[in-house]
Subunit: 333 residues, 2 copies
């Protein structure tokens, strides 16, 4: 159906090899010939078949992306960033959604790996060991997850938490509750840690209420325990949880921010629309996606490009505190 390199060659009156070179190594072919080829390409609307090229060069011009849940706005944004950046490099993106099933990750990557040059693994739920195994035979970039020896793009969670706590302390809050996400989640651990450090150094007190699903329901479930801690402010694992908190607090008649201040993390679109509009640590989501693509492509060009293993503090993406209406001065006691 579509034109092949032979069609172009015939029309231009040259051999397929010349067409190939005219397109990829223009310097090697005579200007006049090159013009004839260009004309033929134009006329036929020819575009090289990437699959065929991939067989020879070993590069398919395609990368894979594995995310836990496309319907989660956080991942949707990261995906958008990846997608945009990949297109910029003329690279196509295979997208796979694991439906939050940690067991599916390895299988998907393995299936994808035959068809792509490398894969971006976003917020993987699999264990460090599994991830390391995957990286053995595929070029992988992690997003939002740090594993010793594996390249990845991460957020500086410690710093984000510090900003949130500084804001709350300035408002007079002294006792701050923390609603964690899944215990196995890398982000939960680092956010909890950052919170603890920030709270200590700023002379406040942390009241963790445990681990909850990183969802609206998780937030609703945590709300009553938050209230029971007597804290005047709460930091939630992410915005969905924070919005769940808001909902449950509202139905219990607890006023935000008059009686309790609420802070989320992510800054998904929904947060602006919440009532009250949510104060949150904005994470540059599309930016993370873009950087992941750059890193992956750099690694493919230069296999040794991997960054040194890091503990997740330096060179990471910074969040930015967005203050809206869900935080206010601590109530007088």
């Amino acid at each position: 159906m579509a034109a092949t390199i032979r069609d172009v060659a015939r029309l231009a009156g040259v051999s397929p090899s010349t067409v190939s070179r005219a397109l990829s190594l223009p310097g090697m072919v005579n200007a006049a010939t090159r013009a004839r080829v260009a004309a033929a390409v134009e006329q036929l609307g020819y575009e090289p078949n990437r699959a065929a090229r991939g067989l020879i060069t070993g590069r398919t011009g395609t990368i894979g992306l594995v995310v836990p849940d496309l319907a989660n706005p956080f991942f949707a944004s990261v995906t958008k960033g990846i997608q945009a950046r990949a297109r910029h490099h003329d690279v196509a993106v295979f997208v796979a959604d694991t439906d939050e099933d940690p067991g599916a990750e390895a299988g998907l990557v393995r299936a994808l790996s035959k068809q792509v040059d490398g894969v971006v693994l976003c917020s993987p739920r699999a264990s460090d060991e599994e991830l390391a195994a995957i990286a053995q035979d595929t070029t992988v970039v992690l997003v939002n997850r740090s594993v010793e020896g594996m390249p990845g793009i991460n957020y500086d969670n410690e710093d984000g938490m510090r900003q949130a706590v500084a804001h709350l302390v300035a408002l007079g809050h002294r006792r701050i509750a923390w609603v964690g996400g899944p215990a196995s989640s890398w982000s939960t651990q680092h956010r909890g840690l950052g919170l603890r450090n920030a709270v200590e150094s700023l002379g406040a007190e942390l009241a963790p209420v445990g681990n909850f699903a990183p969802t609206y329901e998780g937030g609703r479930a945590a709300a009553d325990q938050v209230v029971a801690t007597g804290a005047s402010a709460v930091v939630a694992y992410n915005d969905l949880v924070a919005i769940g908190l808001l909902a449950r607090l509202h139905s219990r008649g607890i006023s935000v921010p008059a009686e309790l201040s609420v802070v989320g993390v992510d800054d998904i679109a929904m947060s602006r629309m919440a009532r009250p509009a949510l104060t949150t640590v904005r994470l540059p989501k599309q930016e993370a996606g873009r950087l992941a693509v750059e890193l992956l492509l750099a690694m493919l060009d230069d296999p040794d490009h991997g960054q040194p293993a890091r503990s997740g503090t330096h060179g990471d993406l910074h969040g930015e505190l967005i203050v809206r209406d869900s935080t206010g001065p601590a109530p007088q006691k």
Copy 2:
């Protein structure tokens, strides 16, 4: 790096052709040989290279998906459905996001078309003519858009609007405002039409307030005009618009549903979390994605599988009215 068919053949002591047949036409090869091949495949972890197969068979085992905006929860859900169904058929999915740029659609499809067997075009913004041109040289399935002669998966917008109006009329509403989406949008036209019919046949009155962006901001922008119509209920183009309405109405101190009832369309996750929780017409989003994949694959197997051109009323997906807290009895005047 990865094992090739030749490696398997060598290990099994047969020729590559036999391996190929053992895998794709098991009936043609002796059970004992087949077992030896299977063992070799297993041992080497062999999986055929799809790109190479695609060169011969003309089928790449890949489909493309073009959506206006991945960050829009509606499209995210459709994508999820497509993705899940495609995996079920062992087909990979290329995803491209046009960033709501109608001009980008044709180019993206064209670029994709070289690498895929067919593409799903979700809520395309391009004109009927452009779409028809695209369908000339690529197998295309439309989602949420109906074009004469092109196969597609659509929602029965008329019926959904009827359900919404019936609900409102039963609550005593007689004057119903309608906030349309983009004027060029196929859904806007059909929803407006369905609304008009439903309102007429149920003895109420329609007050259209014009066309707005299909976003939260669009809803905020429309709110005051809605109030000015004097209607006691409003149907919004989609949930984002409805949530925007809710926000603006709240800040103007207009109580929902006591003074004004609000109905959306889509039922995105956010709607449940809105305050008050949004009454809406739930559209089966993942189902639409699944059906689109089935239709596309069927068309690829049998090029004449195209459905007859339809006007968008029969055989479409039905919405379901989800009643939450944003609708209530009409205020006594």
